[in-house]
């Protein structure tokens, strides 16, 4: 039996104390997004996740989806759960009020995506794809298309898909072969075969809206010749009612490593009626406007799985009696000590937790900037925030999902042999986490995106959006005696990141392989610094809350506040262990995790030669 409780306390800390999400209320369109209101929304969604979706996670994995004659049936309970999810109006969360959305901030949606992924990743894929399709239509569709399709998608009674992949092309979408032929009435006829289409067919909704990448007859080759089409499963009549079945059928579903409750479909388009979304031959760029949001969402999948894995590992480590603490038994009254006393088990738990909480903090910061980028009245602020989001998106996607896989593996390790047994439930987390490293652009491609596109964009402007605040923070706190233990290692790691960046920029210009060969290592180095920047701030806030502020000598007792003083300072006694935990985690992060930047730095400086020396035939 697995457990899950949404990390609402940590989310509240991030929103209220770290990123000051109360500023959202001042943005036009977000007048109702008060901190209180956001809390309430996330609390209720937590209930849905814990009580409705999580209980279906393991059974959904065991059963998987069923396929027969073009029809897909989801695992027992999924359809009913989706109906409740829709009835409560959750699909509308961050959609535009003009199409009946609730218009909540993207920050909220991002954190919601973490909770949904923790509770039931397979289930969460269905609404996530609808959101992706919604976004593409919302940003690039004509008013007519928007009016005809968006309200039903926002409501959740129609779902969406993203149809990019074909058998011979995944990463390299320039190879897309699906064709679209213009018709006299302005519509198109789409023909081709797509594979691996999530939610391509299912029993949740009465209609499914496919967004399909295809080629016009006279299109140039490569990615510049790809257009985006909307192809509904059932045609939609003038009055909004459903008409004939369109020419798209599901040819089968995949058996796969994880997320087995999510249908992964072969979709065959045969002269299917479609509508152009956006401009001809601009499909790739249109797709990318929603891809950023989707990639952040996938990052949250990694984070969500890391969180639920941690919670289960923690519970097990406290309960499973095995061996004795080395110095002396810590629980002599019991037959043996619980696993939690063992240093190596603690190492694993803290590795999970420090990364998870650091990642969540970074998500909060990115989320806030996503909202600033879309809603702030000042174009300069919008640009700055948008730059930061663009820069950090590949970092979030890749690092969070790598962490998701590592953390779920550690959870299995902590469970020992029981973790490897299906019934325990934690091995599912590993299998589910694995896909997040692949879809929405495999993680290797994220590294290339960071190094090849984002670093050089606008003469390094994006990069400065991150480097400047970090440099400013380090400078402002360089002589702070209390924060020294965090600031000093961060400054060192940041220096490595700057040097590595300079090397990649110089060498990469000369030989692109030099940049590409170290791109994944560079992304990881970047992520470790970014999380460090979050952790130093979290440590600062926590010290202050506990009355151990830099100028708070009165309460300081050799750097340790007394329990009473801490309680008095925090106000709410249940918060004392929370802030103490944060400080302990911050120390673990800076002393045990951040040093990886040193080896990454060495790896990056070694450049491409060791990777490229061996000829292809030598493998």
């Amino acid at each position: 039996m697995t457990v899950y409780k949404a990390p609402l306390r940590d989310i509240r800390f991030i929103l209220k104390e770290l990123v000051h999400a109360e500023q959202l209320v001042d943005l036009p369109g977000y007048e109702e997004a008060t901190p209180d209101q956001i809390d309430f929304v996330l609390e209720e969604l937590a209930g849905v996740c814990q009580e409705l979706l999580f209980p279906l996670n393991q059974s959904g994995d065991e059963e998987g989806c069923h396929y027969e004659d073009g029809v897909v049936t989801t695992p027992a309970g999924f359809k009913e759960a989706y109906a409740k999810y829709v009835e409560a109006g959750w699909p509308a969360m961050a959609c535009d009020p003009e199409y009946d959305g609730m218009g909540l901030p993207k920050t909220v949606r991002l954190l919601a995506e973490e909770m949904l992924s923790s509770a039931n990743l397979a289930f969460s894929v269905y609404p996530l794809l609808t959101t992706g399709a919604y976004t593409a239509i919302f940003k690039h569709g004509t008013d007519e298309l928007k009016r005809a399709y968006l309200p039903r998608m926002v409501e959740g009674s129609w779902s969406g898909t993203m149809c990019l992949t074909e058998a011979h092309c995944g990463t390299d979408l320039g190879l897309v072969r699906t064709r679209a032929i213009p018709q006299d009435d302005g519509s198109y006829r789409v023909t081709g075969s797509k594979i691996f289409i999530s939610s391509g067919e299912h029993d949740f909704t009465e209609n499914i809206i496919h967004l399909v990448l295809a080629r016009l007859p006279d299109a140039p080759s490569g990615t510049r010749g790809i257009s985006l089409f909307l192809v509904p499963k059932f045609l939609v009549n003038e009055d909004g009612s459903l008409g004939e079945r369109n020419g798209v059928v599901c040819g089968g579903i995949e058996k796969k490593m994880g997320v087995s409750g999510s249908s992964t479909c072969v979709l065959n388009f045969d002269d299917a009626v479609g509508h152009l979304v956006g401009e001809p031959n601009r499909g790739m760029s249109h797709m990318f406007t929603m891809m950023n949001a989707a990639r952040l969402g996938v990052g949250m999948q990694g984070l969500g799985l890391a969180e639920v894995a941690y919670q289960n590992a923690r519970a097990y480590a406290k309960e499973r009696l095995q061996g004795r603490a080395l110095r002396e038994p810590r629980y002599p009254e019991r037959e043996a000590d619980p696993l939690i006393v063992h240093p190596d088990v603690r190492r694993m738990l803290l590795t999970m937790r420090a990364n998870t909480e650091g990642a969540r903090a970074l998500a909060g910061w990115v989320g806030l900037n996503l909202d600033l980028a879309e809603h702030h009245p000042d174009p300069a602020v919008r640009e700055e925030a948008g730059d930061l989001v663009d820069l950090l998106t590949p970092v979030v996607k890749s690092y969070f999902t790598d962490h998701g896989f590592l953390a779920t593996n550690l959870a299995v390790q902590i469970h020992g042999g029981h973790g490897y047994i299906r019934e325990t439930g934690v091995e599912q987390f590993v299998r589910d986490a694995r896909i997040a490293q692949i879809w929405e652009g495999a993680n290797g491609v994220q590294g290339l995106d960071l190094v090849g596109r984002k670093l050089g964009m606008h003469n390094g402007r994006l990069l400065r959006r991150f480097f400047h605040p970090v440099a400013a923070y380090l400078e402002a706190h360089q002589n702070d005696p209390l924060l020294g233990e965090f600031v000093a290692p961060l400054a060192k790691a940041f220096g490595r990141l700057q040097q590595a960046t300079a090397r990649i920029a110089q060498q990469g210009l000369r030989d692109p392989d030099e940049a590409a060969a170290v791109s994944s290592d560079y992304l990881r180095l970047f992520a470790l610094v970014a999380l460090g920047y979050m952790w130093v701030q979290m440590a600062e806030i926590s010290l202050e809350r506990l009355g151990i502020g830099s100028s708070g000598e009165s309460r300081v007792n050799g750097g340790q506040a007394t329990a009473d003083a801490a309680a008095a300072s925090v106000g709410d006694p249940k918060d004392v262990p929370f802030y103490q935990g944060k400080i302990a985690c911050a120390r673990f992060y800076f002393q045990k995790l951040l040093p990886e930047t040193s080896s990454l730095f060495a790896v990056i400086m070694a450049g491409a030669a060791p990777v490229m020396a061996l000829g292809d035939e030598g493998f």
Partner: protein
């Protein structure tokens, strides 16, 4: 039909409960507090009756200011307005004091029906419905797993060990409902966003005209003398199947009077 639902904020059922000496009050400070899970059924039933017959649902809650979060959840589920009874003098009230305060609040409201949960998950006395009916001098129907309103009167099923007993009753009346009566909805996102805009009034005892001497720890007729944690659960009995497992399981269940 005008309905009042009484709701209590309780300590999260999953939290470890602590009772604090000297008077063994529940420690509500160091844990999360939530809407009493049994009261969700009461709210759901009230909202369904309203949806079927019109009128409004008022949430009534006695508790400290932060109990507002429980009230807000009830509003998000579809109740229309709320009245909080908040007064420092109420701390340490027993069921009698609670019933006095709630009946004082009800005196200022119009209602055809008062619906409560079967009990709170923290103190679990289950006495309030009866205490309230007694003070208000109204019919009391407890442990209901079905409520139907037709032609001006109420038909209900009262759950028993064997099945149910059907009752009919005129209005107004006080009812308490059990878990099986319905499936509480998840508050809708619209409901959640709208809950804060619904009227929420707070009154103290003076405004309600309730005698402070009869409530709170001082006015309580009962006193908790001491508390003892239950003995730890015995280890379960493992039955290995050597061909007689089914027989032995049946014997075990019969021995425990479960079957």
């Amino acid at each position: 039909m005008e309905i009042v639902v009484c709701v209590k904020q309780v300590v999260d059922t999953e939290a470890e409960k602590k009772l604090l000496a000297p008077d063994w009050r529940l420690d509500r400070q160091s844990v999360e507090n939530v809407l009493n899970p049994y009261d969700e059924y009461a709210v759901e039933e009230a909202v369904r009756l309203k949806e079927a017959h019109g009128g409004e649902v008022t949430v009534l809650c006695m508790g400290p200011e932060d109990a507002q979060s429980a009230v807000r959840k009830a509003l998000a589920m579809g109740a229309d307005r709320a009245l909080m009874v908040t007064d420092p003098a109420l701390a340490g009230s027993d069921t009698q004091g609670t019933a006095l305060a709630l009946s004082g609040a009800l005196a200022g409201l119009t209602y055809d029906l008062v619906i409560l949960g079967i009990m709170s998950t923290d103190a679990q006395t289950g006495q309030l419905p009866s205490a309230l009916g007694d003070i208000l001098d109204l019919p009391v129907l407890t442990a209901l797993n079905m409520m139907k309103f037709e032609d001006g009167s109420l038909t209900v099923h009262r759950q028993t060990d064997q099945g149910y007993v059907a009752y009919g009753c005129g209005l107004p009346a006080v009812c308490s409902v059990v878990k099986g009566i319905n499936e509480p909805r998840y508050p809708s996102l619209k409901g959640i966003m709208g809950a804060k805009k619904k009227p929420l009034e707070t009154k103290d005892l003076a405004e309600l005209g309730v005698d402070t001497a009869r409530v709170g720890g001082a006015g309580a007729l009962t006193k908790v003398l001491s508390t003892t944690a239950p003995p730890p659960r015995k280890a379960g009995q493992k039955i290995e199947d050597d061909g007689t497992a089914a027989q032995r399981i049946v014997e075990f269940l019969a021995g425990e009077k479960i079957i």
